[in-house]
Amino acid sequence: MRRIGVDTGGTFTDCVLVDDEAGVLLVEKVPSQPASPDAAILDGISRLIARAGLAPEDIDAVMHGTTIATNVVIEEAYAPAGVLATSGCRDVIEIGTQQRLRPYDLLHRPKPVLAPRNRRAEIAGRIAADGSEVEPLDEAAARAAIRLLVAEGSAAIAVTGLFSFMNPAHERRLVELVAEEAAGVYCIASSDVSREPREYPRFMAATVNAALAPLLDPYVRRLQHRLSDAGFRAELYIIQSSGGLATALRSMGERAHNLVLSGPAAGVVAGVVTGAMLRVRNLVTLDVGGTSADIGIVAEGEARLRFDMSLPNGLPLHVANLEIETIGAGGGSIAWIDGGGALQVGPQSAGAYPGPVCFGLGGDKPTVTDAQLVLRRLSPAGLLGGGLKLDRDAACAAVGGLAAQVGLGLEQAALGIVSVMEANMAGAILRSAARHGDNLREFTLVAAGGAGGLSAVALAKALQIPRVLIPPHPGLFSAAGLLSAELRHDLSQPMLVDAARLEVSEIEASQAELERRALRNLEIDGIPEDRRRCDHALDVRYFGQEYAVTIPTSPGEAFHEILARFHEMHEKTYGHSAPDAQVEVTAARVVGRSLADGRDLPSASHAPHGAGGRREVWFEESGCYLDTPVLERFSLRPGQTVAGPAIIEQIDATTVLPPGWSAVVDERDCIMMEEATS
């Protein structure tokens, strides 16, 4: 099998080709083209296959991670969506939770509204909490409203009704009416994007979908066409916020909003895959870029999935997504002293432009990257194999200015900037782990991104994580993850069943129906029968709680065993349980997935890049500059052991191995770092 993974990032489009038969892995990094991301993709993969001596038709699959939806959301460059609401719902997406994003801001800017009020219409029709009809749908009014929404410029329409997760009849009928009155206008019902209760997030998911689909669908189609025009016959798969792949067809329409976290999801999937390869079950993945860090947790070989999230502007979105914590801490984070003399790092970032002071592009505020350069953890000779020159004197002047303000020496201040950023990251990792009662002593930290390796050991020490893993290409980690991701379908059926009066058959019927749909989807996706699998779960909670715990189950399992696991998991997650309290089941869930074909990624063959050497590097552990070997990453051979202190460099990443820690290169070219046993 020959597969290509393509990850479109803000700066670079990363491409990885794997040829299982030939045992070859090739990588290519080309500049992204924000105006036409597909052009950069074609450019990158054309170069790859040329280097591999292959033709387009030799490629079996193309897996893609994209930030196009993320960017639409961040820039609020949505398509003009309209909302067709049943009774009482017209203003739900504008009123939201009635909360303010910044409660201490008295001069607050207006809240973002995806569909302004003139593109929202309300017509009679109401479903009750039990799914019965309280008020019939006014179809004549609906037809008029649809025409009005179109006249107001709606390029897509979201249909929203209360309790449609219990009974979608009104919403479905309205979708039909839209097709009749406004043929060609994209339409989506809230019950088709989410089966979760709570009107606001569900309606928002539908509205976000309607505001994205008209923009994303053409992109996906264009990419498909360009690939086939170039001679590719491979199926195009796109990674979803859930970390699962979906066919191009299933990445459009009602699933368009599933792409919002497509980019970061691949990094966590890469963690899952790397863990499986190395037989490591528990991982923290850390991807550090210029402005932010993404933190993911893989427990017992699985990435954690949740069913709601917040967009950067505070809007909620009901969508299956990997639990990724993003914090504003990265190389570009700016250090400053506040009015009380407290040292602060971030959340402001110098970004890529003007960037850190040492880039010489006009940045004049000291950043984490400047501090790392002062300490010579980053090479004063520059980054990207000399492609990015760094000015250490400028960095010293900027950090020195800050040091003078608080009466610290230059290196103490630089160390302090790094320490504060790492403390903020450590806090975020701790909170991510704590949400599920994870014991970090059982985890391995995987550092990705250009800057992950600079802080990985320091974080591991702070969090008592015993091991750190650096993948062969930290900068291409996400693209590699794409290659091994599974197809996946997350289906759920809401219910409200008292566990004491439970009809097991009712739950089993729901799960069987979900399983049937999931398997059918996989079949349509072209997954052979022996590689289709379904995982079952139930959402369970104590009576009166609104948040449930998702408990994995096996078909036919005795219910009292499931209940026992619920109490156990509640205790682990929240620190208390109440085995005597009343319990209810709120949803059945089934995940349909394609089993990976079990093949590992081949390791890449790499020519060492650069010469290595030695330089004076400041470590927190040493409290002074140490004459430190600088090792070229791919001069290290499998089985080789390195004792800290050392700096390990490669074209797109730098790894710090402090004194007292040692590193060993495994047969897959991963670097595993642990505290040295004396």
Binding site: S87, G88, D91, V92, I95, G96, T97, Q98, Q99, R100, P103, Y104, L106, L107, H108, P110, K111, R117, N118, R126, A128, A129, L162, P197, R198, E199, Y200, D338, G339, G340, G341, A342, L343, Q412, A413, L415, G416, S419, V420, A423, A426, G427, L430, R431, A434, R435, A462, L496, D498, F543, G544, Q545, E546, Y547, H570, T573, Y574, G575, H576, A578
Partner: protein, 557 residues
């Protein structure tokens, strides 16, 4: 002297610990008021009870625990406190805000002594007393406001007090939710204590204590610098409550605010005497209102610590509506607290030109209903609070439909309400024309209709139903619309609501219309395209466009 890096690193760890404790509290709690409305707060204190890190989701709780800790410490001599103890308290006359806010504190021990405290407080739906939901506008004394815990041990050396828990359970109208929430609070405090043990292990007691002390000093220096950089000045304002909950006479809140050097003096001299009803603002709640206004006006980004409170001199005359004497009822303190904040903002804006904002809706139209769960028939208490429009400001129109100032509680989702309570919400919508006219228009209020599907015992209340006390305009802007509540009985009678308690039956409906924010700036300066856009969106009517802005909509062709 401790270096700023260690202070920042430890500070970051303490903030993460508090955040984690709050996550645990929220996710394992039972009642929507915590889960959906986020009415809880967590904090970490030094051994002397000074807050060194605080995570307040609801600004109303800002600093509250800083004022209750001293009471706990005074009532419990050091030698009586042991590892594994957890204290409970909720008495407004022992430093708490109102009886519904239950405070939980756990000591952190190291080297054989208390070196810190972990605390949290959460709003409970009901804690007994005369009224469903405990809050009562007509309460004559604190004895109508449910259980009052003095500062006692709920957990003693790791063992829960079964007697207290059972007594508590037996005295609330919604025991499953109340007990579940209390357990979530205990678990959150225990988690905080465990995490503190890690922090102590990593940095040592001496460094940790030095870092906590320096964090307080940094907080103090930061706000003093902001105040010193603000030109000295003084402003004064008066705000009114519609009535005291029992009569028809308005109640005055008078405040003067003065920046003098690096200090701030907030003086409530001139405020009316304490009320005979339940709307008095307990001392701690009044102080929280002041802290919010000061933070929002002067330094919104600062970490909240007790150090930041040191330059404040707050004068709260005794036996007034803002500092009532025992045993005055205080359960509905929130209405007065919002008005206090609103009045302070008005006073500060007189001498601080960059606080260019009009008044927001502070009526907080609410109901609490004692009823039966629609599926199980078990007793439950439903509560919902509605915000309204925020005042316009020099840059933007006021926000529509928000819980302003101290509030920021979430709206009860219509789908959660109907699943948990025998109450159907028919609509939740914006109120056109409710925002005050201005160059920047006030935000719109909310209209929500509740249909009762079963007999419920309901307490309704709202403020700001009088036009003369509606959200104030600023800089030439006009006032917003006041709130209007009407109970429509199934038999067709209509009962206007200000503050009422009554039994309702299936088929009765409550129509709640909350107020809009005040406008900022001369309406004549409002850009035509904004007026036209509001008209097009149905946010103002053609008649209001004409009356307020002299704008005539072009005929549709």
């Amino acid at each position: 002297m401790i270096d700023p890096v260690t202070v920042a690193v430890i500070g970051s760890a303490l903030k993460a610990l508090i955040g984690e404790s709050g996550d645990a509290l929220r996710r394992s709690s039972h009642s929507p008021i915590i889960r959906e409305m986020l009415d809880y707060s967590c904090a970490l204190f030094d051994a002397g009870g000074q807050a060194v890190a605080e995570d307040a989701n609801i600004p109303a709780l800002l600093g509250s625990m800083t004022y209750s800790m001293p009471h706990l410490l005074a009532e419990n001599p050091t030698e009586t406190i042991a590892p594994g103890d957890i204290f409970i308290g909720n008495d407004p006359y022992r430093g708490c805000t109102h009886t519904l806010d239950i405070h939980i504190f756990a000591p952190v021990f190291a080297e054989g002594r208390v070196i810190a405290w972990v605390g949290n407080l959460a709003h409970h739906n009901d804690i007994g007393g005369t009224n469903p939901g405990t809050e009562g506008f007509a309460n004559r004394s604190i004895y109508e406001e449910g259980l009052r815990f003095p500062w006692v041990k709920l957990v003693e050396a790791g063992r829960e007090s079964v007697a207290l828990l059972r007594y508590f359970e037996n005295n609330t109208r919604d025991p499953i939710a109340s007990l579940g929430d209390l357990r979530a609070q205990i678990a959150a405090a225990k988690l905080g204590v465990r995490r503190m043990a890690d922090v102590v292990g990593k940095y040592g007691v001496k460094t940790l204590e030095a870092a906590m002390a320096e964090r307080l000093d940094q907080g103090e220096r930061r706000i003093r610098k902001v105040l010193a950089d603000t030109p000295d000045g003084r402003g004064a304002a008066e705000g009114f409550l519609d009535n005291d909950g029992t009569g028809d006479e308005p109640v005055k809140i008078a405040v003067s605010v003065e920046v003098a050097g690096d200090e701030l003096i907030v003086d409530f001299t001139g405020t009316d005497p304490q009320m005979s009803g339940g709307m008095n603002c307990s001392r701690t709640a009044s102080l929280s209102a002041v802290i919010f206004a000061v933070k929002a006006a002067f330094d919104p980004e600062a970490d909240q610590t007790a150090g930041g409170l040191r330059p404040l001199r707050i004068v709260l005359p005794e036996r007034t509506a803002v500092n009532p004497a025992f045993p005055a009822a205080v359960s509905l303190r929130h209405l007065a607290a919002q008005r206090i904040t609103d009045t302070i903002v008005r006073a500060i804006s007189q001498f601080k030109p960059d606080l260019a904002v009009a008044g927001s809706f502070v009526g907080f139209s609410s109901l609490a209903a004692e009823c039966r769960h629609p599926r199980t028939g078990l007793p439950v208490v439903m509560a919902d609070d509605l915000g309204g429009g925020m005042g316009g400001n020099a840059f933007y129109d006021g926000l529509n439909a928000v819980d302003p100032y101290l509030g920021n509680v979430g709206l009860l989702p219509m789908e959660v309400c109907e699943r948990q309570y025998p109450i159907r919400i028919a609509t939740t919508e914006l109120v056109p024309d409710s925002g005050g006219a201005g160059e920047r228009q006030g935000g719109l209020g909310i209209r929500r209709i509740y249909e009762f599907l079963d007999r419920c015992d309901v307490v309704f209340y709202t403020e700001q139903t009088r036009a003369d006390f509606a959200p104030w305009g600023a800089n030439g802007g006009r006032t917003g619309e006041p709130a209007r509540l009407v109970l429509e009985k199934a038999d067709g009678t209509r009962i206007p609501i200000t503050k009422n308690r009554m039994l309702v039956d299936a088929g009765d409906r409550l129509v709640t219309v909350t107020g809009g924010g005040g406008g900022w700036g001369d309406p004549a300066s409002r850009p035509i395209e904004r007026i036209a856009r509001d008209l097009h969106e149905g946010k103002i009517s053609p008649s209001k466009a004409r009356a307020a802005y002299g704008y005539h909509a072009p005929d549709r062709t």
